[in-house]
Amino acid sequence: MAGLSKAWGSVDVISGIDLSIAGGEFFTLLGPSGCGKTTTLMMLAGFVEPSAGEVWIDGRQVTHDPPQDRNIGVVFQSYALFPHMTVTENLAFPLEMRKVRRAEIDRRVAEVLDLIQLSAVGCYYPAQLSGGQQQRVAVARAVIFKPPVLLMDEPLGALDRKLRVDLQIELRRLQQRLGITVVYVTHDQDEAMSMSDRIALLNAGRLEQVGRPTEIYEEPASLFVARFLGNNNVMQGRISSENGRLRLDSGRLIPSRRCQIGVGEQVCAIIRSERVTLDNNGAQDAVEGRVQAVIFLGAQTEYRVDAAGLGEMRVTVQNTAEQRRWRLGDEVAICWKPDDLRLFRKESAGGEYQPAAPGDQHGVARSDQKGGFQ
């Protein structure tokens, strides 16, 4: 079982990261560019020294161990396959470093090539392989010596979409088959959500939220998390004195979900575009609007609607056969379930939003909290 936790880090880039990752888990560090996820990974690998804090692997502290002693596999964004060695030699390298016998090396190389379905390319040089093939060789090289942990730094970034999706599935399958713990870094939320057991969302060097994909998507702990994932509609307003309603800054009154925010407090309300419907069906609190843009996305269509008092609302609709299609300029009635709203209290001047509804609490790791997460 490989579990690890780390805390703190080089002050300017990362602060106060506490994470505990279970053995055999596919754990993703997600966040926008520059948020420190790669730096965190580098600290895990041993290429960067943390300014403070510790790294533990399998119950052993490795914070100051150099990378060659940590027995971790790393897949780099550029793959870093040794250009002057063949695929076979690349794969054999870590085993040679561990003084494995020649016969055993040959056997394991063949075994791993079979695993990634590239048995035929052993004698080729990396430059002769396609991007997808190189990626698989890079992964194979990182797991051939059976490390307990595998770190991957945006390994699929350089590939086209179709290949990327295929490889995501393959990587996940490989991980489950080998039972290896993977720490994966990406800025692509779709990739993160489709592959991971748990995701840690980072922003400017801090942890925003850690949890399963469904958790962080459905119950975001902060405004940043809510806005980073999915396609959002954001509305600002105050809790109105009237029963469970929200008075928006524009003056409009909309139904809101029950929450613990006091009357008169400033909030930010978010609803995902797929939870908004354009059909009225006689709902009471529907808002009128006019279709301003129709964006065809293949499986779905996104409509941008100028709704009275709400501003521009985005509505995503599945393109099923029975589904009605709207056109530019159509008059529509927008509505949603109040329970689908996510409310965030506006904190003092910083504008850092806190989750406001019951059940929205998921341990957000802030610098003053320590947590162990399952």
């Binding site: 940590r70 964004q77 550029s78 040794f82 040089y125």
Partner: protein
């Protein structure tokens, strides 16, 4: 100076060709892919190719023709036949000189490689910006002083009453015979070759993906093992270029063996010069030159087999199509060396030395100082009161500075100045036009051939060219003549300007010209208002280097000077060879001062105009 800076210019531009050879990940967009040196087919591009014609014609006529003449001379003087060659190859003393030349050159190259490789590694990969800058300054600074000055510095250091011997005597030991023999030549030559070896290495190393080393350590290799097994093989193209440049220069060395070699440290270059200047044995001189040129060509050819792209990759930064197999066929010898070194590296790792990073940094700094300091010794010498090259000087005086102001020295100084300015101007024009023509107007094959031709004067030993010039010019009565020297110097300076401007052009987005064209600008306007302003920085740098190349150039000047026309380097050479006279130190100090002022000026100018493309940009080690 021509012969020393020459290699630098060629290698700096040449190794950019290796950019594509280093297993750059094909799927990752490299910033320069968009500007990759394919001339873009657009209407009118064909007319730009004629811009290269004047320079090509010039080099062909003024440089190549005399070389061919030299070759024919070797079989026709005094009568038709191969007697000259037979004479050289059978006479034991000549054979000894040939063998010694090759051995000294190879030895100095090897030492320069071993000593300089870690320094290059530090410059290219160290995280410490101060260290990088310091080392780079140490390595580049010698280019600003001429070979004569550096050789003079070694005379002071190695001399019988020089730095080393006096220190030994102070400590109670006897003196050592360090000068006027093969040892002094190797020392002087190695010191000279170090920058020539380090700069191409740095250029190539900078392009190595830092993730490779990380991957190696993450897979379990210690730092030393990772270095030997991953980094060194990937830097092989740089090693090859460095070896070729150094060996070629070493084989053709003249000034260093002439001044430091005495009777036992002779090399071919000295033989050629003696044959021309003192014995008027032109047949022997031309045969020896031809042999030297032949050895150089063979050396390049030999390395060509190991390099992809052939000689073009040495000369032409537009890299030709790279055959994948060539990148990796390292040959058994190299693999054997690597595995041997790998075993040693293993031991180093186990002992824990490699964990202490300061070991390599200290080593690098020491070598850097060793490269930089010798020529600085001329500064105190210039204030010495005695004529003998005693270090430390017994007392101080300004007599040599005053002596410099006499016509004895001032006339050559002004002659050199005059020649230098004309050469700088002429080569700037020819070289820039050629660069534009070749980079923007020609197809890759022709471009490579033209580049090769234009860069030949840098690749070939200057002493051969000097002999060739002499043989031709003496018939045209261009020896002992300012114009003759100007012609000869221009052939040396044009490749400089060409290499620098071509490199600048290659990294200049062709879309600026396209944008201008789409807005209605004709070719001439594009040149005037788009290209030239953007190239101003490069133009200034290359003109400066062209001036330096001519001003400091010693070998050709020695051959072509006479009673009436004498350049400053020639005067210095006479002073060094026939008298021991610290006035040379004065010249050295003044020239260094001049170079420093010019550099500082250009640096400030770059800052001001904001045109400073980060020349020594750091590769980030952490991606955000």
């Amino acid at each position: 100076m021509a012969e020393d800076v020459g290699g630098g210019g060629a290698c700096l531009s040449a190794v950019t060709g290796y950019r594509q050879r280093l297993g750059r990940h094909p799927a990752l967009p490299s910033q320069n892919d968009q500007f990759a040196g394919k001339p873009h087919k657009r209407p009118g591009s064909h007319s730009w190719r004629w811009l290269a014609a004047p320079a090509v014609a010039f080099v062909a006529v003024v440089y190549v023709a005399p070389m061919l003449l030299l070759l024919t001379h070797s079989v026709t003087d005094p009568s038709f036949g191969l007697q000259n060659y037979i004479r050289i190859l059978t006479h034991t003393s000549y054979v000894r000189i040939i063998v010694q030349t090759l051995l000294i050159s190879a030895g100095a190259t090897l030492i320069a490689l071993i000593v300089g490789y870690p320094v290059a590694y530090l410059i290219a990969t160290s995280g410490n910006a101060h260290l990088r800058l310091f080392l780079l300054t140490c390595v580049v600074a010698p280019y600003l002083t001429s070979t004569l000055i550096r050789t003079f510095a070694w005379e002071v250091i190695l001399g019988r009453v020089g730095l080393i011997n006096n220190t030994l005597r102070m400590l109670g030991f006897g003196g050592l015979d360090l000068i006027f023999n093969g040892f002094a030549v190797i020392v002087g030559l190695t010191h000279f070759l170090l920058p020539l070896m380090i700069l191409p290495l740095v250029s190539v190393m900078r392009q190595i993906d830092p993730a490779l080393m990380r991957a190696a350590t993450s897979l379990g290799a210690g730092r030393a093992s990772a270095f030997v097994r991953v980094f060194v093989p990937t830097s092989l193209p740089g090693i090859e270029v460095g070896i070729v440049l150094c060996f070629v220069y070493g084989a053709g060395a003249f000034v260093i063996p002439a001044l430091l070699g005495g009777n036992s440290g002779q090399m071919l270059g000295v033989l050629i010069e003696t044959a021309v200047d003192q014995q008027a044995d032109f047949g022997l001189a031309s045969a020896a030159s031809a042999l030297l040129a032949g050895a150089v060509v063979i050396a390049i050819w030999f390395f060509r087999l190991g390099m992809s792209g052939g000689v073009e990759s040495l000369a032409s930064p537009t890299s030709a199509a790279v055959s994948v197999s060539a990148v990796h066929s390292h040959g058994r010898f190299f693999t054997w060396v690597i595995s041997g070194a790998g075993a040693i590296a293993n031991l180093v790792d186990r002992s824990g030395i490699s964990r202490r990073r300061w070991v390599v940094a200290t080593y690098g700094a020491t070598v850097g100082l060793l490269i930089l300091l010798p020529q600085l010794i001329v500064i105190p010498i210039s204030f010495s009161s005695t004529r003998a090259l005693i270090f430390p000087p017994p007392s101080w005086s300004l007599r040599w500075y005053l002596g410099f102001l006499r016509p004895d020295w001032m006339t050559p100084f002004l002659t050199s100045l005059e020649i230098g300015l004309v050469v700088a101007f002429a080569s700037a024009v020819l070289g820039t036009l050629a660069a534009i023509g070749v980079v923007r107007g020609l197809k890759p094959r022709t471009a490579a051939a033209c580049s090769l031709l234009l860069l030949t004067p840098l690749l070939f030993p200057t002493v051969v060219a000097a002999a060739a010039f002499f043989l031709l010019f003496i018939r045209l009565r261009l020896t002992d003549n300012v114009f003759g020297i100007m012609l000869a110097h221009t052939t040396i300076a044009v490749p400089f300007v060409f290499a620098i401007m071509a490199a600048n052009l290659r990294s200049l987005d062709p879309r600026y010209e396209r944008a201008a064209a789409s807005l209605g600008a004709g070719l001439r306007v594009q040149l005037h208002r788009v290209l030239l302003p953007l190239l101003m920085g490069g133009l200034a740098t290359s003109t400066f280097f062209a001036f330096l190349a001519s001003f400091d150039e010693a070998v050709i000047s020695i051959f072509l000077s006479g009673i009436h026309v004498k350049t400053l380097p020639r005067r210095m050479y006479e002073a060094l060879a026939f008298e021991s006279d610290p006035t040379i130190a004065v010249v050295a100090v003044l020239m260094m001062l001049l170079a420093v002022i010019a550099l500082a000026g250009s640096f400030l100018l770059q800052r001001r105009t904001g045109a400073a493309r980060a020349k020594f940009s750091q590769t980030t080690t952490i991606s955000p």
